[in-house]
Symmetry: C2
Subunit: 637 residues, 2 copies
Amino acid sequence: MERNIYLNNVSVEEAKEKWYKNFNLNTNTEIIDIRNASERVVSKKLVAINSTPHYHASAVDGIAVRSVETKDASDMTPLKLMIDRDYVYVDTGDAVKDGFNAVIMVEDLNDLGEGVLEIEKAITPWANVRNIGESLVKGQLILSKYQKINSYAIGQVLETGLTEVEVYKKPMVEFIPTGTELLEAGSELEIGRLIEYNSHVLSSLAKKWGADTLRNDITIDDYELIKDRIIKASERSDFIVVLSGSSAGSEDYTSHIIEELGEVYVHGVSIKPGGPVILGRVNNKPIIGVPGYPVAAALNFELFARKIIYNLQGLVEPKDKKVKVKVKTKIVSKLGFREFVRVKLTTLNGELVAIPLKRASGVIGTMVEADGFLIISEFSEGVNRDELVDITLIKDNDDYDTTLVLNGSNDLILDIVKNQLAKKRINFITKSTGSLAGITSLQRQEAHISTSHLLNPENGEYNFSYIEKYLRNEEVVLINIAYREQGMIIQKGNPKNIKSIKDLVNDDIIFINRQRGSGTRVLFDYKLDENNIESKNINGYEREEFTHMTLASEINSGSTDVGIGIKSAADAFDLDFIPIHKERYDLVIPKKYLKDERIVKLLEVIRSKEFKNEVNKLKGYDLKYTGKEMKKNDSNR
Amino acid sequence: MERNIYLNNVSVEEAKEKWYKNFNLNTNTEIIDIRNASERVVSKKLVAINSTPHYHASAVDGIAVRSVETKDASDMTPLKLMIDRDYVYVDTGDAVKDGFNAVIMVEDLNDLGEGVLEIEKAITPWANVRNIGESLVKGQLILSKYQKINSYAIGQVLETGLTEVEVYKKPMVEFIPTGTELLEAGSELEIGRLIEYNSHVLSSLAKKWGADTLRNDITIDDYELIKDRIIKASERSDFIVVLSGSSAGSEDYTSHIIEELGEVYVHGVSIKPGGPVILGRVNNKPIIGVPGYPVAAALNFELFARKIIYNLQGLVEPKDKKVKVKVKTKIVSKLGFREFVRVKLTTLNGELVAIPLKRASGVIGTMVEADGFLIISEFSEGVNRDELVDITLIKDNDDYDTTLVLNGSNDLILDIVKNQLAKKRINFITKSTGSLAGITSLQRQEAHISTSHLLNPENGEYNFSYIEKYLRNEEVVLINIAYREQGMIIQKGNPKNIKSIKDLVNDDIIFINRQRGSGTRVLFDYKLDENNIESKNINGYEREEFTHMTLASEINSGSTDVGIGIKSAADAFDLDFIPIHKERYDLVIPKKYLKDERIVKLLEVIRSKEFKNEVNKLKGYDLKYTGKEMKKNDSNR
């Protein structure tokens, strides 16, 4: 099997330099109606063809007079004026006709009736008269070359009597998704085949940057077919984007085809995610090949294609906007690679901080959530917790004080909270770290709040003993979200005939575990202890999932027979469930945040009827104490 | 004549409060293809219908194996694997089929030929295998209500197998321009009639904020006609904008019609520019009436309509972005009115400063140029020079260090410079202050550079004596732009038979002057002196224009017979010209800016062939010394 070898592995700057220098970009121009030209770029300067106003226009509502005739008027010697002889009425914008040279405002007139008006002061020549050309003078430059037209400029062009403007055409960016294993959007899923969506994401970005786009159907991994499409694209479009499937094969074709038809300048850039980008030229058009992982594809497109799309329109690529923040987690990065860590920004403890998101290149959701990138240099091995760093923003919004961050135990209920908080304009970010890591992350000030269901086997209480041990110098309040059923999630119909936790040691049963530190793991290990079961006898004890839902999802796939999780997760996948324990699931809220608008709204949600109605549609929850504060040693609970 | 009386004159906040509380805004919803949904707002939450990946997918290119079989492999005891029996090839994204549970990367394989591969280390279970649901778990919340869809979210929706999303409809904003005196865009100009363009400017703003728009043709000032259009609009659109003509009449109709059909909550807000806004309701739809002056119309629309348009889509109005800067000019403002002063931002002397633009409400060009508003409170009488102020930004760009500000003597050539600097991505802002005010503004650090043609009658030299007197502690360099012809600009054919400056005292001749401090005024006063003419004998000596072009424009209109100006201005209006003097027109550049990129590019332009070619298309210039430094006492010049 032929495998692809990267031609080079250069820095971002070197790659840009090698690629961009080969093009003198500009689309053709076109003449369009100025009323549709907002955000377009002027290709030919435009000058005023008329002065505006083009006549002496009254600036107010009043009467046009000859100023010299008013020179003796005063409050002691008021002057009477006769209509038509001494004055005419004018409204704002009316012409001040020949002979008249000033306008007296209506507020300064006493109406004596029968066309006679009285004034009590003189008026200077040309008072309240707009000069000819006050706004624009004939011949004046209105639009410069390369000017981006804004809404107001539309007014200036129309005002002088013009309706058309010459602008650069929107560049046509053509997308060629490739990969035999890919399915078109909306297809029925098949094992081994994923839906192609990168082309739609990048096309949306290209449009946002001002381009028109054209997308080919998916091309299977066939050298001649891909080549044919690249040739066609290079004839009709300004910029070509080839999207590799996830297989190395199609990517390999792309670089060889570009070599054959034109030139490959760069193949492979030392960044993470997403090294194997191809930057080349075909038919004097720039062409980029992006890798299949969605975050890698998007990052490469932002890094390399954005400038091309702006330049094609005659625009300079906007400067990256940056913000200086503390990063709340130590991040290790590989030397030799510039890493782009997606981060969410929020205000925590009164300062702006960056919360790193998942680093997996296959999770496009992290790009949906991210406010920006923390860029770790190729010469650095990472950043320390609380280090001050620059975040390169990828979103326009800056509503960081409406972002609420929860690290802790996961539950389907949190999605209900998220949607209801969204209605209250709070952006709720949850990280499924498990209960214990959630509590320690509060200790490290990495999140606002946590969720926890940590059982103390010694007294049957929840959470307090762990909080006392791991969360020092921080007063917290525990608010109950729900009691919930934990149990064994098993295949529908229970084909392996599992009856109790003791059956997990059977040879033919494959188990899947939750990660250490999760409340569910603590519960499970306690139950093993109680039943004198040794973990090494459980087939799959080492395999860890991080949420109830991914665990249920794995069992549903058939790869695994059983795992421990909540009833609602079993239900979501229509799996069977054997109850083990009813447990308490609490919010852990530092007292200092209780008056924070985000927490106030969170508690409003938890205590609302709408929330309880939604949770009651799921199974396995008891909402008796929902929204209530949990106190230590409360024997009723 | 019935005149309109403002119902009230409230603050911006009070007006907003009185108006907004009457509506519970939201458009209807619609289901659209997610691929066209970028920037749209989710009206119904969306959850994943499939986990993704929905199977165990290889994360790399390599071979799928059973991990347990590799446990003894090491570099000392390499393990041989036979194709199909021990492994199968997988590419990234391929399914890791039942029985296999790990993938060894291609880089870690030694190919021994004939299907035999050798490995030198064991692999852990599920290594290099993407979990089911790694990206999305079935049932997981993808889009929350009120979420604004970004490009990446498109990927998430497609990935799970969906193609549609429920969003809020784009609000329909309907514009009703009124005013008998207005002309449609592109019409031939007539005296007393101006082109209606406010509706097009505001429509462009509404689209930028996410709306669809509908514009009526201009309605003449007729109560029943306007009423009819408002009724129709209130039935089919979500938000109605009535644009008054500049006459009080049509505005008056609007408020009475709204009173008749619904309710007027506010009529008149204490702001400048643009008080007489009308905020009301018809058929439960919000309706706004904006005044005719373009800056007032735009300001009222930004202040009051933007929130409505965002809210209709389910969005919160974005917060205003502000920047703290020094303001470079003392600004006086009227107590009782909140004034919105348009400003341009630039870096001057290493700090970010705000340059106030013209305050006339009729000059839409100031909105084209402005980066933001300096908002002066109704309780303040203004701001002092060098006071630190907040600027509320109205543009996204922040390329303030590419903005070059010139205060000084005006010439048509500066428009040529502006367009050529635009090509070099420098935004050139010129204020026609006249030569002397230009020099003193350099002294006050209000601009980067100046232009000057100030004659010293005592020795015939230009500029140096004035600079010595008015510009202290600032070393400057003088670079010649051109020598140019000054003279009398007169009506075509010279109907008043003007022969020399001595004729200006004739009774039947109406003169128009330039402002005090302008180089042209200095020249003219010198010439009067030379000819023993007293200024009081010149009819129109007191009437001042600020540029050559507006002066020529006035003469062209026929209101005036003669003024002093440059030949190119006379030519631009096809007027006659009687030369008086050939004078030097210089750039004044503080030495500290000579290495500033803006000045470097400016001098490149002045010294370019392209610039000289453009200037040579005008008349009355001598470019012998263009681009050369002017030294004191250089007798050759």
